[in-house]
């Protein structure tokens, strides 16, 4: 039976164009049940379009696949009943109160005791005392909690969260992620798109998508290892001037300041090392070979994909 299948999302070759512009290109991915899958990539990379295709809100031009064992083209109704989708923009009713929004969702999904379920959810979300407040009057963090509550209320098997933490303060973000992990612990599969590197590192698996192409996927360590990136960190004086001189040298794919240090990365280790040679022995600079961070990998991927696909 589909509920027991180990793979929650299994799609191949998904392609979608809008007005002749291809937004998602030949995207294939698999998401294991019970895992938290991070979906990363710059703005406009096709994350939202992919998520919408998974839950039946968009029809792919090409490609096929299943979501919770149901065909994404034919069984959109069955998928919708089992999937909670949290949209990027707050899309609950602003002119309905917290309670009314949750009751509406509960009734639509046929939850037996809509009022009771909504009341419990309000308690769980920590929104007690605000249940009669209009959703539109809530702060960003509370709106996001309410939206998560609304999409988990009908007990879905899969959560699709589209940039759920955009514009939310760090404390609220941390609480949010604790909640996500708790839900995954109960067997829920979560696909979450984000811009934040620290959030990517909280995922079991990640995929990086840019310009509609899926460029890398796997666990965080996998993705870093597969990037074959060599990174040096430099500390010392006048790093800004150094950064300008290094950029564009053979073998150096990326120079990025990180606080008081500079990250210098490249895929070709030999070329990189010969390019930084002239500055290696400067007493004012301190060089150290380091493991590339996920951010290094992504910025490098983003730069590379820009050349390839734009």
């Amino acid at each position: 039976m589909n509920a027991a299948a180990p793979i929650a999302i299994d799609v191949k070759g998904l392609t979608k164009s809008f007005e002749g512009r291809e937004v998602v290109h030949e995207l294939s991915m698999q998401v294991k049940r019970g895992s938290i899958y991070g979906f990363l990539g710059p703005n406009g990379s096709g994350k939202t379009t992919t998520i919408r295709m998974l839950c039946g809100l968009l029809t792919p031009d090409r490609g096929e696949g299943t979501c919770l064992g149901f065909d994404i083209r034919r069984d959109a109704d069955k998928i919708k009943r089992r999937v909670g989708y949290m949209t990027q923009r707050f899309s609950l009713y602003q002119d309905l109160s917290v309670r009314e929004n949750l009751e509406f969702v509960a009734r639509l999904y046929g939850v037996a005791d809509a009022r009771g379920t909504a009341r419990e959810m309000i308690k769980r979300l920590g929104l007690s005392g605000r249940e009669e407040q209009l959703a539109g009057d809530l702060s960003g963090g509370w709106k996001q909690r309410l939206a998560l509550g609304a999409c988990t209320l009908p007990n879905p098997q899969l959560l699709l969260l589209d940039e759920p933490t955009a514009g939310v303060d760090p404390k609220a973000r941390r609480d949010f992620w604790n909640e996500i992990h708790a839900l995954a612990g109960q067997g829920l599969t979560v696909l979450v798109s984000t811009h934040y590197m620290d959030e990517a590192e909280r995922c079991h698996e990640i995929a990086y998508i840019a310009y509609g192409h899926l460029l890398a996927h796997g666990s965080v360590d996998d993705v870093i290892a597969k990037s074959r990136l060599t990174t040096y960190t430099v500390t010392g004086d006048d790093l800004q001037a150094l950064s300008e001189k290094l950029a564009g040298q053979p073998g150096i794919d990326m120079v990025a300041p990180f606080g008081t240090s500079l990250h210098v990365s490249g895929r070709d280790q030999a070329a990189l090392e010969s390019s930084i040679m002239p500055w290696r022995d400067k007493p004012a600079l301190h060089w150290q070979k380091a493991a590339p961070s996920l951010e290094d990998v992504f910025i490098e991927l983003m730069g590379r994909s820009k050349d390839n696909f734009q």
Partner: protein, 389 residues
């Protein structure tokens, strides 16, 4: 585990198929009602529009229509009778569309609004005239629409003269050899308010109902809530019912308000059955809501929805017989008018309120309203986009 899950899923599917529709429609109705209640401006509109319009339209719009459908009850076939009919027709006010053979049929045609006038030439009329018995020639008018009836009735005295000039009776006025007895039926005082108020119920309902639902789908799209709604397991028919049903009540309140003011302020009577009026008003409200909802599934934004509603509203006002007598319009305009719900409702409500008509007199108009409603609903459900493509 999988067996239990399978059984569970099976049960879930079953429950889905049995109650899903009502449950989801109900969820939608509750949501829409709350939103309507919170929308103060819309709520004020519900009361303000009818009151304003009613007071503005308290005065009549004047016109002298021609070629009005007339039934003839000819109880004898004589030269005098024919020349009187000819003279009536020559006034251009009357057009003989029906020849009937008994008084019941004559009355029914008038009652159902199929003709505006009836002319009866009684048996033995010519002989009575020759004998100098001074017999009566009956011209019955449906004066529900006083504008339509009054100028035609006013022409009657001229008709008498013409008929006499033509025939053998020259030379013997001042006393006329026969009398034309005019009956202004249903609205003897020829008060235009009696005619305007029922029509206004229809006009106001058309305007408000159309706009309310025309905005409903585009509003969800523009506020971004459509994405959420579509990601949930709800079907287009359920969305439609959810968005229509709360406004049926609103329409009902409006209709009651207009009728209440009409009765209290203008003394408009309700001769027919109140229950029938309520039933057919509900049908008319639902038809308009369905059409508005159809607009909202076709247009891109709220502005377009408003424009489309206006495009529909204007011909409704002008061609429905609310402002100008339907029978006086050119043929093409009458064809357009037949396609508008307001035309049929204006007939229905005037017939019930002013002529005490029953369902039997109103079958055709009711069926057209049902047809238009089903047509609109079908288009709306097929046009409703279930994806964001």
């Amino acid at each position: 585990m999988s067996m239990a899950v399978a059984a569970n899923e099976h049960r879930e599917e079953l429950r889905e198929s049995r109650f899903g529709f009502w449950r989801r429609s109900y969820a939608m109705v509750v949501k829409e009602s709350i939103q309507l209640r919170r929308d103060r401006v819309s709520f004020a509109m519900i009361v303000m529009i009818p009151v304003m319009q009613l007071l503005l339209f308290g005065y009549a719009i004047n016109t002298t229509p021609h070629n009005l459908p007339t039934a003839v009850l000819l109880q004898e076939d004589t030269d005098l009778g024919r020349s009187i009919l000819k003279a009536l027709e020559n006034t251009d006010y009357f057009r003989f569309t029906r020849q009937v053979h008994d008084v019941d049929e004559f009355d029914n045609l008038l009652k159902s609004g199929k003709v505006l006038f009836g002319v009866e030439i009684p048996r033995g009329f010519e002989r009575a005239v020759r004998r100098g018995d001074h017999p009566a020639l009956l011209v019955a008018a449906d004066a529900t629409d006083p504008i339509a009836a009054s100028s035609a009735l006013g022409s009657l005295s001229v008709v008498v003269q013409t008929a006499l000039d033509h025939d053998l009776f020259t030379g013997d006025p001042p006393s006329l050899p026969f009398e034309i007895r005019a009956h202004a039926r249903y609205n003897p005082a020829a008060s235009s308010r009696l005619n305007i108020v029922p029509g206004l119920v229809g006009t106001i309902l058309t305007m408000t109902m159309l706009i309310f639902t025309a905005l409903s789908v585009t509003r969800e799209i523009e506020r971004g809530t459509m994405e959420s709604l579509l990601s949930m397991p709800i079907k287009p028919v359920e969305v439609m019912f959810g968005k229509i049903i709360p406004y049926v009540l609103v329409g009902f309140i409006q209709a009651a308000l207009i009728l209440g003011i009409g009765v209290l302020l203008f003394g408009v009577p309700v001769l027919g059955s109140m229950a029938l009026l309520a039933l057919l008003t509900t049908l008319f409200i639902t038809t308009n809501l369905s059409i508005g909802y159809t607009f909202s599934t076709v247009v891109q934004n709220q502005l377009q929805a408003m424009q489309m509603s206006m495009m529909f509203f204007l011909p409704s006002i002008l061609l429905s017989g609310f402002m100008f007598p339907f029978a006086g319009m050119p043929v093409w305009a009458r064809y357009v008018g037949e396609g508008l719900p307001l035309t049929h409702y204006v007939r229905i409500i005037r017939a019930i309120m002013l002529r005490g008509a029953t369902m039997q007199n109103l079958q055709y108009d009711s069926l057209v309203l049902i047809g238009l409603m089903l047509l609109a609903m079908t288009i709306a459900v097929t046009r409703f986009r279930r994806t964001l493509d």
